[in-house]
């Protein structure tokens, strides 16, 4: 059945008829080529953008919300409006116990302090943190380690530096671990330094010290500056956000409708807006690509119809010489599939070149807009399958047209 596909003569026929109408065949193929090019180029770029976003947010739990306290905007239970509300560790504990769907809750404290090392000094942000922070904001440590439970339990005077603070206080390639820095005239041992991420919520330059040390040194008592909450994957982060704020208002005697007392930034909602945009773009790409592809395949069908019309007499001669209608149809369908596939493969190759070009232009370095713009083999495979199917279907139209004319009428054609 498929023996003819490996027959040199079948292909001789295809090449002959291609060569005979070179310009027309090539112009026709442009349609399919363009469709595949668009599909590959756009899908690859969309993937590149997605990769770039993933790289930006990669170190960050994207289903997280940040909650801090502010001033009340409504009087409630005898309190006047404008009251400063303070978040406390017990608030955090209650939130963690009562709000459904929380994976991690990280309380944090922050302040600005003068930091000195030898003759260098600067004012930096100091954060009191739990080791848990490393779980929600993955730190890529270059030297040493992050805070651990032991540091917390023993109120140790240790510090983890961000990259740019290290750069300001230390020499290039100097190992900071075991060195001392002075924060407000108190010596801390540096235990680690981490690489700056692409996106940081809050400041990118900070010094992390154990939460308990911070409490003690800055006399914070039970207070916390803000809390970071990540939701379990199956829970809606917007709902967690809402529940948490409601609970906090309740705990702190704040009017239930007071929107100002607790502020927050919901990374999950922001991020899903971005991913929604990316999904929309991919959908658009498939839509545009396949629509163009179909238009291109129709162009091939159209041109084959004209070719068949022009070759009416030749087909008549072939039939007089003993070609069966099936053999004629098969030849035309093979031609259609061949043209479609050839155009498609050129499209895939040039689409690949475009992606390589995009990668060279925009995909280099840390701040790349498009990262690893590519399409999967599966997409290429799907595209080729679609092309083969469409090519076969569209080839059937001229094929049936070719054999619908009686050989005697075909021969009479001049």
């Amino acid at each position: 059945m498929f023996k003819f596909l490996f027959d040199r003569d079948t292909w001789q026929e295809v090449f002959d008829s291609f060569n005979k109408n070179k310009l027309r065949s090539i112009l026709t193929m442009v349609g399919v080529w363009w469709g595949i090019l668009l599909l590959i180029g756009l899908l690859g770029s969309a993937r590149g953008l997605e990769n770039a976003f993933n790289r930006l947010f990669g170190d960050l739990a994207t289903n997280s919300v940040f909650i801090w306290s502010g001033n009340t905007s409504k009087p409630f239970k005898g309190f006047q409006e404008g009251r400063r509300v303070k978040l406390t560790l017990s608030d955090a504990k209650k939130v963690e116990e009562n709000v459904e769907g929380i994976e991690f809750l990280v309380p944090r404290n922050q302040t600005q302090s003068e930091v000195t090392r030898n003759f260098l000094s600067g004012t930096f942000q100091i954060s009191g943190d739990y080791p848990l922070l490393d779980k929600v904001q993955k730190k890529k440590l270059i030297y040493g380690r992050f805070l651990n439970e032991n540091d917390i339990d023993n109120n140790k005077k240790v510090a983890v530096l961000s990259e740019d603070i290290y750069q300001q206080l230390f020499d290039k390639d100097e190992d900071p671990v075991g060195q001392y820095v002075q924060i407000n005239n108190i010596n801390y041992t540096v235990i680690g330094m981490y690489e700056a991420g692409q996106i940081n919520i809050g400041s990118s330059s900070e010094i992390h010290i154990p939460f308990t040390t911070f409490q003690q040194v800055y006399n914070q008592g039970d207070q916390i500056a803000w809390m970071m909450i990540t939701g379990k994957p199956e829970y809606d982060i917007a709902q967690i956000d809402k529940d948490t704020k409601l609970l906090l208002r309740n705990l702190n005697n704040v009017h239930p409708d007071d929107q100002r007392a607790f502020g927050g930034f919901n990374l999950g909602t922001e991020f899903s807006r971005l991913t929604g945009f990316l999904i929309g773009m991919q959908f658009l790409t498939w839509f545009v690509g396949i629509a163009t592809l179909i238009a291109g395949v129709f162009a091939i069908g159209n041109i084959l119809l004209i070719t068949v019309r022009e070759r009416t007499k030749e087909i008549g001669v072939r039939r007089a010489l003993g070609a069966t209608p099936f053999e004629i149809k098969r030849q035309i369908v093979v031609e259609a599939v061949f043209l479609t596939l050839l155009a498609g493969i050129f499209g895939i190759i040039t689409g690949g070149w475009i992606l390589i070009g995009l990668d060279a232009a925009f995909g280099q370095g840390d701040s790349a807009v498009i990262v690893n713009a590519s399409v999967s083999i599966a997409v290429v495979f799907i595209a080729i399958t679609i092309l083969t199917i469409l090519g076969t279907l569209i080839g059937l139209i001229p094929a049936f047209r070719a054999t619908s004319i009686k050989p005697i009428e075909a021969l009479r054609e001049e």
């Binding site: 008829s17 060569n19 007499k313």
Partner: protein
Amino acid sequence: MLQISQLHKSYPIGDSSLHVLKGIDLSVEEGEMVAIMGSSGSGKSTLLNIIGMLDEADSGDYILDGLKIKDLTEKKAAVYRNKFLGFIFQSFNLINYKNALENVALPLYYQGMKRKERQELAMYHLEKVGLANWAHHLPKELSGGQKQRVAIARALAANPKLLLADEPTGALDTVTSHEIMAFIQQLNDEGKTILMVTHEEDIANMCKRIVRLRDGVIIEDTKVEQVRAEQHV
């Protein structure tokens, strides 16, 4: 070889129909060389097309080599044409983007013969018509007479029982016509049965039998003294 009895054929023209063949009875023996003559509209081409299985009769019997040709599907007709018949056309009908050898090999391709065998056989037939040196030329590089000889080689390639020629000399000058006729006569001498449609008396006289048609009926069917074409060359 070939028996036809009470063959009728009409073509619809608008609401009415045109009765082209009105009961043809014809019998051709093996080795005969028959010219079918008649003015245009006499039905001679229609008769040839029916014999060539390119067209089908409305009624009547057609028996070719003991095989009744009736209710043919396109596929069966194609197989019979390939096996039993060789066609020679007035306008040669060579495929213009294939060279002489490939044109001759085409009927063999449709027989499913292997490429190498096919090309050897096609070359053999090209040699027979004296065009071995032109095997790799395209039809446009050949003269009219050469093209018709390629067409004859192609008709012979599948070793058909019956050669059908539709005005084989219609597009050729007198000298070339006689060359081609000499060649066809030689084929007949070798035993091939040949049926040809022509409206030229001198060409018809080079056959062994003339069948005259007028308005769809045979008005004359005579054996003639064959004029050898070589005399004119």
